[in-house]
């Protein structure tokens, strides 16, 4: 049974009680927000554990083993520990900025999911500017990192914050251009429309030769940079900046950055799966299962990168983005446009 059936049934029951439509909408929104939050929190906890286990497997270690089955509850234990920790605010920080940075980061990470289709019909709100909304909201992350770097009053944090701002801004551009080529073909900014335009496997945008794979690779590279993961993890760069922007954070504030990072990784994977891998489309399994499989597949790739590659230097990072990725993305966009309007490969 599709999950959406349950939601529709509940919605109808709500309407049948006869309360005003405004309230029905409000209640359904709150309920879906809570559900999304719960699922994402679970996913984030799982991803932290998975990253640790995966890194252990890559390195022939065991990783967490003691808390729960193969350490499955380890992240929960860590979260509880972090909540208990004293929330240290260093004396000379810029208090409001320091205080709000993790919150903005955390909220922005969740707000994206308004328009992410988890399955057929499993979407909070199918905005007709869906992808634009996502791109806009993810940009909030930079603001929060910049705030954290600036507000911490620490030179390492400042460098980390500046790096992250420069990095995210420069990689946002090729990423958007890569996304645009998909939008061009789908003819819509709505996430649902984009998914529906790739009903069959050869219609997935990654298989639309030749522009699809290029756009996908550009998207993956830019998304790695966007989420500050190796080889683009310069804002945190432990060996250079110790911990970068979150150097002064502790306790729950740190946990917020930490969880937001993993949710962001899930976000970019989900968007990648939606835009290029057909989203929830797939045979046999329920739609949400296909969505999760594809998304976790991409998450695996990001983790694989992290446990394999060294890190680029900040100027090389910029050079790579502006001198290589961006021209390539534009060329690809032109190619996609030409393909679209010449009618070639327009299946």
């Amino acid at each position: 049974m599709e999950l959406i059936g349950i939601f529709e049934y509940l919605y109808e029951q709500l309407v049948a009680t006869g309360i005003p439509q405004v309230w029905v909408d409000l209640i359904s929104l709150v309920v879906s927000a809570v559900i999304i939050f719960g699922i994402l929190a679970l996913i984030a906890l799982f991803l932290v554990w998975w990253e640790r286990k995966l890194s252990a497997d890559f390195q022939q270690r065991m990783g967490p083993m003691l808390t729960g089955w193969h350490g499955l509850l380890q992240t929960i234990a860590d979260a509880i520990k972090l909540i208990q920790k004293e929330d240290i605010t260093p004396t000379k920080v810029d208090r409001p900025v320091f205080y709000w940075a993790p919150i903005i980061c955390f909220v922005a990470a969740f707000a994206v999911y308004v328009t992410v289709p988890f399955g057929k019909g499993l979407i909070v709100s199918d905005l007709n500017i869906g992808i634009l909304y996502i791109v806009a909201i993810t940009t909030f992350t930079i603001i929060s990192l910049l705030m954290a770097g600036w507000g911490s009053n620490n030179k390492y944090a400042l460098l980390g914050g500046m790096r992250s701002a420069a990095q995210v801004v420069s990689y946002e551009v090729p990423m958007i251009v890569a996304i645009l080529s998909v939008v061009l073909f789908a003819g819509s900014l709505s996430m649902v429309d984009i998914v529906e335009s790739q009903a069959l496997i050869y219609q997935w945008y990654i298989f639309r030769m030749p522009f699809g794979p290029i756009a996908f690779v550009i998207y993956i590279i830019a998304a790695t940079a966007e989420t500050n993961r190796t080889p683009f993890d310069l804002p945190e760069a432990e060996q250079e900046l110790v911990a970068g922007f979150n150097i002064e954070y502790s306790g729950m504030k740190f946990a917020m950055f930490f969880l937001a990072e993993f949710i962001n990784m899930f976000t970019v994977s989900a968007i990648g799966a939606t835009l290029f891998l057909g989203g929830w489309q797939g045979p046999f399994l329920p739609s949400w299962a296909w969505f999760l499989i594809k998304t976790f597949g991409l998450v695996f790739v990001f983790m694989w990168f992290r446990w394999t590659y060294p890190r680029l230097r900040v100027d090389q990072l910029m050079e790579f983005s502006w001198k290589f990725l961006l021209p390539l993305a534009f060329a690809n966009l032109i190619l996609a446009g030409w393909m679209k309007y010449s009618g070639w490969f327009n299946w």
Binding site: F58, Q59, M62, M65, Y309
Partner: protein, 210 residues
């Protein structure tokens, strides 16, 4: 262009290398549940060995280990009787100072002090790391060891002395003296020991026995 192809190829080689390790078995062990078997020569914590049969310490208070220790971790408290023979009062090993070099074990001619494969001695209080005779002896109870290959040539004489009387000592004593290639301080006490009596002799005999 060629460079680009190479670069992409090598990025994939890196990914494949890590992926190859993915199914391999772990090389680590889950520490408190599983442990290594320490090699027989491991130099872990210092213990005092005692005779397997009598349960007495092998130590003859010769102070060689105390002198050999480069970090002054060993302190031997003794008391001289009227014959100038040393009686061990307390054998103190300060594990906070010990550098696990093994020189004390090498210096010992009586298989009395040994470094073992034991390595777990964390405590909450630093002062608990200063170990006295009883603790050192206790830790050494289950440690197997080779009785020191005595340079004493007569195995025949020793069994006679071994578990029993003080009478047999007279013959034994000169031998010990000559054989021991140690500094002078050590030989002296031996002579006296033999001349005198009691449990100390037993200890000596026990060592000889081994």
């Amino acid at each position: 262009m060629r460079k680009l192809v190479d670069a992409i190829k090598n990025l994939f080689i890196g990914l494949i290398t890590t992926a190859k390790h993915l199914p391999r078995k772990e090389v680590t062990i889950q520490y408190p549940d599983e442990r290594w078997t320490m090699p027989e020569r491991s130099r872990g914590i210092v213990i005092l060995l005692s005779d397997k049969e009598t349960g007495e310490l092998n130590c003859t208070t010769c102070l060689l280990c105390e002198r050999a220790c480069p970090s002054a971790a060993i302190k031997i408290v003794y008391e001289k009787d009227d014959k100038k023979k040393r009686h061990l009062k307390d054998f103190i090993v300060d594990n906070t100072l010990c550098c696990f070099c093994g020189l004390c074990e090498e210096a010992c001619n009586f298989a009395a002090i040994k470094m073992t494969g034991k390595y777990e001695f964390a405590t909450w209080d630093k002062t608990d790391l200063i170990w006295h005779t009883d603790k050192l002896q206790e830790m050494g109870r289950d440690v197997p060891y080779e009785p020191k290959k005595k340079r004493e040539p007569k195995p025949a004489a020793k069994p006679a002395e071994a578990k029993s009387e003080a009478t047999a000592e007279k013959p034994a004593e000169p031998k010990i003296e000559t054989e021991a290639p140690k500094p002078q301080e050590e030989i002296k006490p031996k002579e006296k020991q033999n001349e005198t009596r009691t449990e100390q002799e037993d200890n000596n005999n026990a060592e000889g026995d081994k």
